[in-house]
């Protein structure tokens, strides 16, 4: 064996030793390092997601009072129960304002289920309102009845900006019949101008499974809405009762 051969053998042996050290000692650690780095990246992603959820939850907490007021306001349009006395009171008030005589109200048969124009926010189950058909009879002039129809629509209306303005029960008029009044109370020309308006309309109530403010509404902060609310800790859900 010459000296050169011996040097080559020694170099090979050194490289072999170093290679073995890399493969057996360093490489597994490097592999572990990459694995941990991936875990860190995943944890960062989870943290970002959780922080996003927390931010939206905090935003919802800040919106609570406005949302509660909106819910209560919407309860005027679509109450949790039938609220027939309230409806009669509203109709009486509206007809008095328009110089129309509110003659009668009759509950109708169940309406046919025809459409499913339910609104659903992303990820939220659709709302289904229960229909309550009614038949109203009013007596008044053509102009008075016309104004009354407008008033009934104005109980719940949308502004030009799209915002809902609720001041009474949401009613959908399905049919109207106008005919000369035959009550014989008025006489002369005034009698000729008197009409009997028979209106078939539908009111709506929340499903029985839903309360006005939901089954458990968070009582974050002092409730700005009317009604008695138990004000617990800001994050403690509580039952809040409110009368629309």
């Amino acid at each position: 064996m010459t000296g050169r051969d011996r040097i080559v053998l020694i170099a090979i042996a050194v490289l072999a030793v170093l290679g073995a050290g890399w493969v057996l000692v360093v490489s597994p650690e490097k592999k572990q390092e990459r694995k941990i780095a991936a875990q860190v990246a995943e944890a960062q992603s989870q943290l970002a997601s959780a922080e996003g959820q927390l931010a939206s939850a905090r935003q919802a907490q800040q919106q609570y009072q406005a949302a509660y007021a909106s819910i209560v306001s919407l309860g005027k349009a679509v109450p949790a129960s039938e609220e027939v006395p309230s409806l009669i009171y509203e109709l009486e008030q509206a007809s008095n304002q328009k110089n129309v005589d509110f003659s009668s109200i009759a509950t109708g048969a169940a309406a046919s289920s025809t459409s499913s124009a339910t609104a659903a926010a992303p990820g939220v189950a659709p709302t289904g309102f229960t229909q309550m058909p009614f038949t109203f009879v009013f007596n008044g002039t053509f102009a008075g009845l016309d104004h009354l129809f407008q008033q009934l629509d104005d109980f719940t209306q949308r502004s030009a900006s799209g915002a809902l303005q609720v001041s009474g029960r949401l009613l959908t008029i399905q049919s109207v019949k106008l005919a000369p009044a035959t009550d014989g109370v008025t006489a002369g020309k005034a009698a000729l101008e008197q009409l009997t308006g028979t209106i078939t309309a539908t009111a709506y109530v929340l499903p029985a499974s839903q309360g006005l403010t939901g089954a458990a509404s968070p009582a974050g902060g002092a409730s700005s809405a009317s009604g008695s609310g138990s004000s617990g800790s800001p994050t403690t859900p509580a039952i809040v009762k409110a009368n629309p």
């Binding site: 780095a37 944890a43 406005a66 509950t107 719940t156 609720v166 008029i173 939901g214």
Partner: protein, 257 residues
């Protein structure tokens, strides 16, 4: 004189580098040591990285869990706001799906010529299930009647696609006035069709003008009694409610409460 080579025999030209007494073993040892040192440095760095990143991952996971716990604690707020949004959109769609009755009656009053009188007017949108015998009368009764409710979870009673139709019955001074009435009714915005159902003049001998006696059809003299059907365009599809339907809760006036 004999030349003498003073260079040691081991270092004379042609001898290989490192071919000293150790015959290159020293260099090999040095290279080995250097390689081991590099490997040790790499190993140490990797161990340090692993250690620090483990701590970082644990810290991040703990933070994420804390954030999730806080978010879940505030979840009722989020669901409440979602409920409000959902309900507002549903009400908004119902409001948008209504037919503007008041406007139509105003339009009738505007377009009908003075040569006609209306004795009856009826209009219907969609399917009306509450007519005649299906109603139970209660004259201005404030008793809390248990209104029968639709079992199905439906929305508007006047769903999109419903066609509003009106029937006008009345008297005109002449058949030409009936024709004019039909033409005028077509001027109403949204009217898709105006159909004459009947226009009948009953001959009454000697009956002319407004002083003529009222005939059996309720019209003066031989004035024709007409019946006209007015069909409006179908109710449009409810526009997709905006993502954030606002509710103006500060408008209690104007209502009846």
């Amino acid at each position: 004189m004999r030349a003498v080579n003073l260079i040691p025999a081991a270092q004379r030209g042609g001898a290989s580098v490192g071919a000293g007494r150790s015959e290159g073993g020293v260099y090999a040892l040095l290279a080995l040591l250097a390689g081991v040192a590099v490997l040790a440095a790499l190993y140490g760095h990797a161990r340090h990285e692993i250690s620090s990143r483990r701590g970082q991952a644990a810290s991040l996971t703990a933070q994420a869990q804390q954030a999730q716990a806080a978010a879940s604690q505030l979840a009722p707020f989020a669901s409440f706001v979602a409920l409000r949004e959902q309900r507002a959109q549903a009400v908004s769609q119902l409001v948008a799906s209504r037919f503007d009755w008041a406007n139509v009656f105003r339009e009738f009053g505007r377009v009908l010529p003075p040569t006609t009188t209306i004795s009856a007017l009826s209009g219907t949108v969609g399917s009306s299930a509450t007519t005649g015998s299906s109603t139970t009368s209660s004259t201005t009764s404030s008793s809390s009647t248990s209104a029968s409710k639709a079992a199905a979870t439906v929305s508007s009673a006047t769903p999109p696609g419903s066609v509003p139709t009106f029937t006008l019955t009345g008297c005109a001074t002449s058949q030409a006035a009936v024709a004019k009435t039909i033409q005028r009714l077509r001027l109403i915005d949204g009217v898709s069709d105006v159909t004459l159902q009947s226009s009948t003049a009953t001959a009454v001998p000697g009956a002319t003008g407004s002083a003529a006696p009222v005939g059996s059809n309720g019209c003066a003299g031989s004035d024709p009694v007409f019946s006209i059907a007015v069909t409006f365009e179908a109710l449009p599809q409810a526009s997709s409610a905006s993502a954030a339907t606002t509710v103006d809760a500060s408008v209690p006036s104007g209502g009846a409460r």
